[in-house]
């Protein structure tokens, strides 16, 4: 490693199902640059365009497209679980629990004091309880995704949504709309159903202490508020929760390069 730690640049790229995130840090872990783009149907072209924008000495890839990236760029990879854990823990060193809800995955992670992953739970197979679920439901209800959480927060009460399956929940929502129910209340009910599932995952890995909430869904204010209420635990949101995985990967690249 160079004696001037600020001279070396380490990148982390998180190739998610919905967006690709790129973070560049220096040898001390300070963030130098961040970029983000929609994944689209050709993740490697998008990723190639993104990394062309920055200079770096070492790069580490994470996210569902990491193996494709590894093949194209011969870069080391790390799972999104370890990457989010590292990103979240670095920003909040006293945190021992991380919840990441991304486009197609959700996971709850418990950490050791050292920031190492102790245990994790992850959804399998379907989009239940993920960003994709919220996106489809927002469209069904005619809300913009960015506004979905605020609208749900404005509701006076929850409508119970019993199905977590995207397909079944969509028909449940359709029948609620047909019954003339308030779409804000339906929206809130959908948020509550995602939180119920996320809380279940968290409880299987840890029972107390603050929770760092990462991933794109952490930008949704209704999710944050409902999660805090459901678990009665402090929720911490990174400066940009969606970048936590790419940030963690960049830090791990720095660690490996040291």
């Amino acid at each position: 490693m160079s004696s001037d730690t600020t001279a070396v640049r380490y990148a982390g790229i998180d190739i998610g199902s919905r967006t690709i995130k790129l973070v560049v840090v220096d040898g001390t872990g300070a963030v130098l640059e961040t970029f983000q783009a929609d994944t689209g149907f050709d993740p490697m072209t998008t990723a190639t365009a993104l990394i062309a924008k920055v200079s770096f000495d070492k790069i580490m890839a994470t996210g569902y497209g990491r193996n494709l990236f590894e093949l194209s760029f011969d870069a080391p990879t790390v799972t999104e679980i370890k990457a989010h854990a590292r990103g979240a823990w670095t920003e909040f060193p006293d945190a021992r629990t991380v919840l990441d809800i991304g486009g197609q995955d959700s996971k709850a992670i418990a950490l050791f004091d050292t920031g190492k992953v102790k245990k994790f739970e992850m959804n399998d197979r379907c989009a239940a309880g993920t960003g994709k679920f919220l996106e489809i439901m927002a469209a069904t209800l005619g809300f913009d995704l960015e506004d979905f959480g605020a609208q749900a927060l404005a509701a006076e009460k929850d409508l119970l949504i019993s199905s977590m399956c995207t397909v079944f929940a969509e028909s449940e929502v359709t029948s609620l709309i047909a019954r003339g129910e308030d779409r804000k209340e339906i929206a809130r009910g959908l948020h509550t159903s995602v939180i119920r599932r996320a809380a279940g995952m968290i409880n299987r890995v840890s029972s107390d202490g603050p929770i760092v909430f990462t991933g794109g869904v952490a930008k949704n204010p209704c999710m944050v508020q409902l999660l805090a209420g459901k678990l009665d635990r402090e929720i911490r949101i990174p400066s940009d929760p969606q970048l936590a995985g790419a940030y963690g990967a960049a830090l791990l690249a720095a660690e490996a390069g040291a």
């Binding site: 799972t79 999104e80 679980i81 370890k82 995955d105 994790f120 959804n123 399998d124």
Partner: protein, 425 residues
Amino acid sequence: MTTDYTSMWQELGLDLAGHDALLNVLGTAYTDIYLSQKNRPEGMGYFDFVMSEVHGLRIKELMDEKAAGRKIIGSYCVFVPEEIVLAANATLVGLCSGADFAMEKVEQLLPRNTCALIKSSFGFKIGRVCPYLESADMIVGENTCDGKKKAYETLGALVDNLYVMDLPQTKTDQTRDLLKAEYMKFKTAVEELTGVTITAESLKAAIDVVNAKRAAIHRLSALRKADPAPISGLDALLANQVFFYDNPARFTESVNKICDELETRIQEKTGAFPAGAPRILVSGCPQAVPNWKLHMIVETAGAVIVGEESCVGERGTRNLTADTGTTVDEMMDAIVDRYFEVDCAIFTPNPQRLDHIQEMVTAYNAQGVIHYGLQFCQPYLMESIPVEKALEEKNIPCLRVETDYGMEDAGQLKTRVEAFIEQLR
């Protein structure tokens, strides 16, 4: 394949088009998963040959045995005692249940939420693609889990030679008597099928043959304790899978030959994986040929599987049958005692399994356990939670996986397995 077995398959009543498709998939999977492995022991060449001829030469051997008057008995479970079958001059083979086939038709007979293993056994029958099943003179079902015992009621209408054996679900003196009564009934049924009366000599000889086969597998398992692991988990799993199909004496000889080679590899510190590779114990549901999904995902991610706490693995092969009996009845008691020790999750309670998992973690120097559960397999999925809890209390990381034979969850499974391996490093 060099020899043309088409006429043999035709005589067995196989659906040739479906069977060709199956063999193609199997061949491709074997090439991709097995032959692509690096640093394999040379002795695995035997198993490569066995697999290339699994529906060919081996079936031809069975057909030749049948022509010579020997009976073939097919089974789906490690509770069917091979000793009794061999003693009556018959051959026991495991029946196909490790791949999805003819699923649309299967789901007309079984609920969708039936485990992949049961559905598969039906798929092979309905699709007429399992030459083992079609060549069998008797098919033995066994009342293990609810799924299987109810499925056999339906299978009974699809075949004309199903024999169902009852099994206890608790372990007491009374239930041991039940198992003994069932094994005596089975002995009579096998004797009637073959026309051969089991004698003390034939039973003793059969016990020796099966024990030798188990001892060879025990030897192989013990060698997996070494670091670097001299053999991959995939290859060791294959040996455990072929245990159910092969001629017992030849299998024993081939496994022992591989063990000789592995001993040399251990001395020379030659591994299938580098020294220090993360070591994982797999525990849970059986993985029948060609179910190599989990092992492939784990080992392509850089960890090595050092043991299987499974019916296709140590749960199935643990313990020899005592060979001290001199009369048929004494030997039948020894057989009952041996099988009564099998710690299948259909038993309640089943504390021995938990002990065995922890013993295996220590013995094989595993750093973590992956609990392999087939979706909808209630007994093992139920046990996976206390297993995880007990391991975590001892600071042994445990990943509970619930999957089936399909590949649509392979991406997420890979992420979870890789994250688990990161945890172990």
